[in-house]
């Protein structure tokens, strides 16, 4: 028990160092980015499904779309309120959300998701300058 002082000092230093990152960032969590809606999306008011569903499940929806289009040849999506959409990533999602950089990308960068879809799918289907 002669080294009590040393051990306690050591422990205090260790705890201070170990918890430093947490204490330093306390209350400063990076806020979720604000996604920007294009005028076209604003005019439409609603997405192809409820906003909650889209925020949480849009990747699932895209998976269903591509499965249906490519493997079953069905291309028309009729929403519960009767709006019809061509099930297409570039031609439909990016028709309303043509500001991919401020919409899809902004949120994906925050969540650190990198969809590889754009290696094939056109990310500016309206031919606008990037």
């Amino acid at each position: 028990m002669q080294n009590k002082g040393k051990i306690i000092t050591g422990l205090v230093i260790f705890i201070a160092l170990f918890t430093f990152p947490f204490i330093y960032r306390m209350g400063k969590a990076a806020p979720a980015p604000d996604v920007v809606l294009t005028p076209k999306a604003l005019a439409a008011k609603q997405c192809v499904r409820s906003t909650d569903y889209m925020t949480a499940e849009h990747m699932q929806l895209l998976d269903i779309w591509r499965e249906k289009v490519v493997r079953e040849g069905q291309r028309l999506y009729v929403t519960t309120d009767g709006r019809a959409f061509n099930m297409s990533l570039s031609n439909t999602c990016l028709d309303c959300h043509s500001n991919k950089a401020e919409f899809c990308d902004r949120c994906h960068d925050y969540a650190s998701v990198k969809p590889y879809c754009w290696e094939c799918h056109i990310d500016n289907p309206k031919g606008e300058k990037q």
Binding site: V48, R49, I64, R66, K68, V70, R71, G73, Q74, R75, L76, Y77, V78, T79, T80, M87, S90, N91, E119, C120, H121, I122, N124, P125, K126, G127
Partner: protein, 259 residues
């Protein structure tokens, strides 16, 4: 002791039945709520039991005559133009008679056939060897006979290329995008590491249009339902002598040639 065990089992059974009804009731409740979105075909989509094509080779006299069909296909589908023929990507192209119909070529064939280019593409076989070879089911045969590729599943193993007796498939050895002069923004490109081929214009059939090569062929190409005796392909097949590529292999090609 006997009766108490019996009543215990009764109560346990009732309790189990009661627990089981919860999910059932809940799913009934959900089913009665908002209707789900519907997924369906476009009303104008063209449908068939077995799509097929007839190519009237008598209408073509030089490679130039085939170019419009090749150009329209390759431009709407974003097929890159790579000069190095090892890297070449082709959906529809031309071959000399001997390559298109090797088992029919002989030394004393008419001079004309020696020089004539033949338009070739994926045959959308009845019994497609590429579908059997594909380990991921990326290549599959639709109920309407079209042999289609799901690029999302292609792992680039190229078994299908080895299996196809017609050389109808090309592999993307490099990123195709820099080699596409005019991108059709409505259709995806492909990427390095996937195989690709003709899709019988599945995306056009879905919106009521016939394949692009048929559309620009000025009647030299006919497209229709082989299962429908009243269809135009059946009519043309009945009126003319036709051959198919490497018929002896038993793949059942869906592209017929009038020679």
């Amino acid at each position: 002791m006997k009766s108490s065990r019996r009543s215990f089992l009764k109560i346990a059974g009732l309790a189990a039945a009661g627990l089981g009804t919860g999910p059932v009731l809940r799913s009934w409740a959900a089913g009665g709520g908002a209707p789900a979105p519907k997924i369906m075909n476009n009303a104008e989509a063209l449908e068939a039991k077995r799509w097929a094509m007839v190519i009237d080779t008598r209408r073509f006299h030089s490679a130039d005559d085939l170019q419009p069909m090749i150009d329209v296909c390759h431009s709407i589908h974003n097929v890159p133009h790579l000069k190095d023929h090892h890297h070449e990507i082709k959906w529809i192209w031309s071959e000399p008679f001997g390559n298109a119909f090797p088992e029919r070529e002989h030394e004393f064939m008419t001079e004309k056939l020696h020089h004539l280019p033949f338009l070739v593409l994926c045959n959308h076989c009845e019994n497609p060897p590429c579908v059997r070879a594909c380990p991921t089911k990326a290549t599959f045969k639709r109920p309407d006979g079209i042999v289609l590729m799901d690029f999302h599943r292609c792992i680039g193993c190229r078994f299908c290329m080895a299996a196809c007796p017609y050389g109808a498939r090309s592999f993307n050895f490099r990123d195709p995008r820099p080699f596409i002069t005019h991108t059709n923004l409505a259709f995806p490109t492909r990427t390095k590491g996937v195989v690709e081929k003709c899709n019988f214009c599945a995306e056009r059939l879905a919106v009521g249009q016939i394949p692009a090569c048929v559309e620009v062929s000025d009647g030299a190409l006919t497209f229709g339902d082989l299962d429908d005796p009243a269809s135009q392909v059946r009519h043309v097949l009945k009126e003319n002598f036709t051959i198919r590529r490497k018929q002896g292999l038993g793949t059942g090609p869906g592209v017929y040639y009038i020679v």
